[in-house]
Amino acid sequence: MDSSEVAVRFDGVSRLFGEVRAVDRVSFSVRDGEFFAMLGPSGSGKTTCLRLVAGFEHPTEGRIFLSGKDVSDVPPYERNVNTVFQDYALFPHMSVQENVEYPLMIRKLPAAERRRRAGEMLELVRLPGFGARKPAQLSGGQRQRVALARALIGQPRVLLLDEPLGALDLKLREEMQVELKAIQRQLGITFIYVTHDQGEALSMSDRVAVFNHGRVEQLGTPAEIYDHPRTAFVAGFVGISNLLPAAVAERIGAGSRSFSIRPERIRLATPAEPVAEGGCSADGTIRSVLYYGAQTRYLVGLDAGGELTVVTQNSDAGGPRAAWSAGERVRLVWSRASERPIEEGVET
């Protein structure tokens, strides 16, 4: 990768809080113009990484580069990076217009230009005509948009988003996902997006870094992360994971390594069904049935030990049977190619 294409680079970065390693020797690069998600549970170090890029934290070890320049000791107000905060952090004593103009006011731009550009930004986030209102008079989703406009008006190279949709309800969150993605495409700015929601990370990003215990467990495209989880943690955190320990795998004749398999790769069949070439099967009993409308989720207890989750689509073109019920004996059938061996020695 050419260094001019790199927006942000972490080089062996650690951040310690007392004895706690919030970020532990992390190295990765974010490409210019990329929608990059940092995904992980709370306390995994993803937000600290974001704050390191913003300049609110400084690395204890290692260096951070923005566009090839070492910024490890540069204060936030001298970095060409802006942040959308989780609580929006709108200035309550200023109107929407003043909030959006704030970065330009600090740079002492002429009032006419400030007004024009703030107008454009409010247009971009679809809040034209809201300039005179106070933040307290806006809904959560509108405040979110104002925060976005304020962070974008200074034309940063990198936009940092700290769980920006966390406080919104589901419907609004889905709308904003589409819109954020569209704005990122339109402006061509690098977005670094922190979230604990794996659905958000998979649907919006070009690449995802999965964080755990202050380290990057896996970095790749959403499809790579989902289809080829390298560790048990990634398999479990992203999507529904079926993890079979080595002992169970051996008993059902699926080799001697533990592996994970995605629930939609498994087919439910009657116990009498023959297993095809290159396939694998395990018999068990349905323990519970969860109906989700478009899908149904079955939890199957295996005779060999352990449990597997199976997801079936409730479409007309569906399988041989419409529904199964709890307590029924079933045979689970899958292709060997769908098994994903898990790196040994990695604990969840």
């Binding site: 913003a54 802006n82 989780q86 952090a89 200035f91 970065p103 304020r150 962070a151």
Partner: protein
Amino acid sequence: MPSERRRHRGKSEGGTRPGLALRLAALGGILFLHLPLLFIVLYAFSAEDKSFVFPPPALTTRWFAVALEREDVRAALLLSLQVASVATVLALFLGTMAAAAVWRSSFFGREAISLLVILPIALPGIITGIALRSALNLGGLPFSFWTIVIGHATFCIVVVYNNALARLRRTSPSLIEASMDLGANGFQTFRHVIFPQLATALLAGGMLAFALSFDEVIVTTFTAGQQATLPIWMLNELVRPRQRPVTNVVAVFVIAITLVPILLAFYLTRHGQDAAGSGR
């Protein structure tokens, strides 16, 4: 139906209404607190200047003119205004700094410092007074205008500090980060974000401090040299009276000058609560 509902509501309201005895007791309490004030105001207009007789034989506004003419009244009033203003400005500066330090950073002994700042208002004024007097003597400082200011600043700082800290604690720390993130340095962040958040709290704290300083007697007694502030002058006047109603006229001034800032402070902080909480 509506009439029935109305009757129901009336009944439930009657249930929460206090009894006659309680209402009389409350009225008695309020009269006990405020009737003497009314007498002060009334006798400022009394035509009789040797003793207080009720009712006053005649009413006059003459004493207001007399009070304003008297050199000792004007000197005392001026001194009190000056002391209160300087002590308030000092308190605004130091109190805000102390509040910002305690809020922003965590350091060893932070809670102890916080307690030490608040202590002067909990401590009896006479202790503060004696302590300051002996400290000033030990330091060889002559009693002056400035020693009174120092004495008053001890408790004025507390009021400002408490107001500022309460407001800061309701302010989201991410506002400061947002400002820095958007290109503002420390000074610009203070000017455009922190100060506007604090403004009404500081105004309220400042006015309260001013009012406290303006009618302070005990600490002033111990830290003043030959000068008499307005309350000290009044105390002296009661001991050796001449033109009694003039004292009452001055008392009316004091009531006005202290009451207005306190009411305004109350009004401002009440409003400030909504404003400060709304941004989150």
